[in-house]
Amino acid sequence: MTLYVVKRLLQFIPTIFCISLMMFVILNVLPGDATTMSGGMKRQLDAKTAENMKKQLGLDKPLHIRYLHYIKGLVKGDLGKSYLRSESVNDLIAQRLKPTIQVSLAALLIAVGFGIPLGFVSALKQGTWMDTLSMVGAVSGVSIPQFWLGLILMYVFSLLLGWLPPQGYGGGSLVNLIMPAFTLGVGYMALIARTTRAAVIEVLSEDYIRTARSKGLSEWIVNRRHVFGNTMILILTTVGLQFGSLVGQTVIIEKLFSWPGIGSLLVDSIFQRDIPVTQGCVLVIIGVFLIVNLVIDLMYVIIDPRIQYK
């Protein structure tokens, strides 16, 4: 098991290396650079100033030298220095990571807490009004654009009812977290509900369920012992994959609710051609994705004793 974990962790290295190279090339061949007039810039720099700025940022050096410099830093865990901000990329990301993880975990909690029961109920009560209702809810949840949902929540809970603050981080307080987490979690919840429903229906048609029922076991025990455990693998895979990408999907709610996460930092840096920040954000998001998936893989062992890693 330990060997497996070490092996998996070692596999991260070539993945991260390939991604860093791809990203470096793509970002550097994009038209425009940090000195180019772009969104939010007050005015075009004159040629002389722009040239000087490029020199100060090291943008006048050849691409391979810049990449080597970047890789050298990366090996030491140094993601570089932002072109436009007064801080190192490590610091910038460190400040943004906590709010991102906070809102993602809260969204996960909402999604799992509501999604799995909804999926179960709708599979067990297949064809009834409960099934229809929860699946209508799930389909709507997947289809509603986050931006629109966020605005509607803001309109209802801030403007009409005055229960929740319309925006801001508030030091990470719960009242500030509710709307962003819900907005982010609804689509995720709907997906989990649908996956759960499909998985439960599939398991219910298995021979061992018929056997269990013919043994005279009550429906409750059949569901608890046989259905639940066997559907968990599929549900957990969906939860893990989705959570990994959730961290990179927070940008809309961050912009909408002024939530200080990593998604908006990434998007801003792309538009401003602040390449070190873009690279840092992408690497961190990928890192989170890889780690979450490793954790999920390890959890399979707990859920299904048949799975063993050697």
């Binding site: 007039m37 939010g40 981080y169 538009f271």
Partner: protein
């Protein structure tokens, strides 16, 4: 007599419209404002940023030698009590205020101004403010490392500073912007790079906290040099790039004032309770479609004029932008001191357009590509509005949507036929127009590649003219030449709108950028939920 009536009328309108002018200002309370552009702030080190979003906050932490006066419509002295100007208008002797303190308690002196200007000019700082300092004599030698001091900056004593210029230009226009702020050397050196996230200035508010991507908090600086100011105890800038969120936050009174975009403009304007608390100003930003004068049909002046006649500009501004724009005349907007009141722009006249196209050798029209970003006001949407109008005169325009930085790179290289953009057109009319001088390349903002000897000549004369009214006349003539040569389609000037709650007083119609609110004069009355 006419003049007197005009002044009285101005005063009267001032009393009627500017919040708080008829009431005594009260201290205390918090003010929730916004930083609405793009995303998070980049840096609060004024010398190291080029972003409007940062300047909104910076100008309340720091102070420059001059500041923008919304009342006067030009820069006025901020850190000096008076200035003596030499006969040749090249030497300015400033009597600096003796009670200006930095937030660390130290008094500001002439040394700080000299050090700050040197820092801006030092190549390692890579400051976008360098061109402002280049007006000072000896700046080039310092910048290139040939001199260790700027020759035109002389400290006569701690509170007397002499600045000698290269040309007789008005220094206020160059030395007022927030990026030319005066900083305390010891704090900058102590903090190094982190000065940008923990700044110390001599402005009305001290920096407290910056939650990245969410908000910046400032508090009253008790040692501020203007007696009794600032009134507010605390200012919070909410970083809110989404117009829809701002709209709701304003309505739930989370924001004390907000900028209004064209989507919300008709609704705000139609709601009497909000409409009476709105400031509208023709900002010094001109929106244009730049025609690349090196591209086939656009080489001919008549073609460029024809397109200006073919487009019903007023209709686009009224319908597409819902009236949140000021109809254009020339490049300089009405808030510019060199705006030509008798200048003639282009009226909608498709017949004249057809005639001109025929004369230019394009009786059946032609096709051109126009680049634009997804900006709602001056982006692809505006180009799409031109399609049916230009079709009537046989011209086909193909809109090409591009991301901002990518479009900027093409604009600089000249690799385009036409593009739409919003360009700064003030406050100094001379430097605004100098964008279009033939010596200026595309890379420095002359995107059309405009080249006119007559226009260049007017600017050259204006640059050395010492009489203000003659100078303005020359600039007006230059703008008229620009209109006639039509290297751009004149689209509009930005009408910036700020809405505020009735308890807010002292916001100003700042034409350079309405969001550049000097909050030292702003106060809130007892009806504020944060008082």
């Amino acid at each position: 007599m006419k003049k007197l009536c005009f002044i009285l009328l101005l005063l009267f309108t001032g009393f009627c419209f500017f919040p708080g002018s008829s009431m005594a200002a009260k201290s205390g309370g918090e003010f929730n404002f916004i930083a609405p552009y793009g995303g998070d702030l980049s840096s609060l080190d004024p010398h190291k940023t080029n972003r409007t979003q940062d300047y909104i906050v910076i100008l309340n932490i720091h102070r420059s030698l001059y500041k923008w006066s919304a009342d006067a419509g030009k820069p006025v002295l901020a850190l000096a009590d008076s200035v003596k100007v030499s006969q040749d208008r090249l030497t300015y002797t400033y009597a600096l205020k003796q009670n200006v303190k930095f937030h660390n308690g130290r008094n500001m002196t002439a040394d700080d101004i000299i050090w700050s200007y040197q820092r801006i000019l030092t190549p390692a700082t890579a400051s976008p403010g360098v061109r402002s300092i280049r007006i000072i004599k000896g700046a080039d030698d310092f910048e290139s490392g040939k001199a260790t001091a700027i020759q035109g900056l002389k400290k006569l004593d701690d509170y007397t500073l002499e600045i000698t210029l290269k040309n007789p230009v008005e220094p206020g226009f160059s030395l007022y912007p927030p990026e030319i702020a005066i900083l305390p050397k010891e704090e900058v050196e102590k903090r190094g790079d982190s000065f940008g996230v923990d700044p110390v200035g001599c402005g009305p508010f001290k920096f407290v906290n910056w939650v990245k991507g969410s908000e910046v908090v400032l508090e009253k600086f008790a040692g501020y040099y203007e007696a009794g100011k600032p009134y507010l105890d605390k200012v919070v800038y909410k970083i809110m790039p989404e117009a829809a969120s701002r709209d709701i936050a304003f309505k739930v009174k989370e924001l004390d004032a907000t900028t209004v975009g064209s989507v919300n403009y008709p609704e705000y304007k139609g709601t009497p309770a909000i409409a009476k608390n709105m400031i509208e100003v023709a900002e010094l930003w001109t929106r244009v479609v730049c025609f690349n004068v090196d591209y086939g049909p656009f080489k001919n002046k008549k073609v460029r004029q024809a397109l200006n006649y073919a487009i019903n500009t007023k209709l686009i501004n009224k319908k597409l932008l819902k009236g949140k724009a000021v109809d254009p005349v020339g490049y300089l907007p009405p808030s510019s001191p060199a705006f030509g009141t008798d200048s003639k722009g282009y009226e909608y006249n498709p017949e004249r357009a057809k005639q001109l196209l025929k004369e230019a050798g394009y009786p059946d029209g032609f096709t051109f590509e126009c680049l634009g970003t997804d900006n709602g006001t001056w982006g692809v949407k505006a180009i799409e509005a031109l399609i049916p109008m230009l079709k009537k005169v046989g011209v086909k325009v193909v809109p090409v949507r591009m991301e901002g930085a990518a479009m900027s790179a093409r604009a600089k290289s000249g690799d385009f036929q036409a593009l739409i953009w919003s360009l700064d057109s003030g406050p100094d009319p001379l430097s605004a127009l100098s964008r279009w001088e033939s010596v200026n390349e595309r890379v420095s903002g002359n995107y059309s590649g405009y080249n006119s000897a007559a226009f260049d000549n007017y600017l050259a004369l204006a640059r050395v003219e010492t009489d203000d009214s003659k100078k303005m006349d020359l600039l007006k003539k230059a703008d008229q030449t620009f209109i006639e040569d039509a290297p751009v389609w004149f689209y509009n000037y930005n009408k910036a709108v700020l809405a505020y709650h009735p308890w807010v007083h002292g916001l100003q119609p700042v034409a350079v950028e309405l969001m550049y609110q000097d909050l030292s004069s702003v106060w809130v009355d007892e009806n504020s939920p944060r008082k």
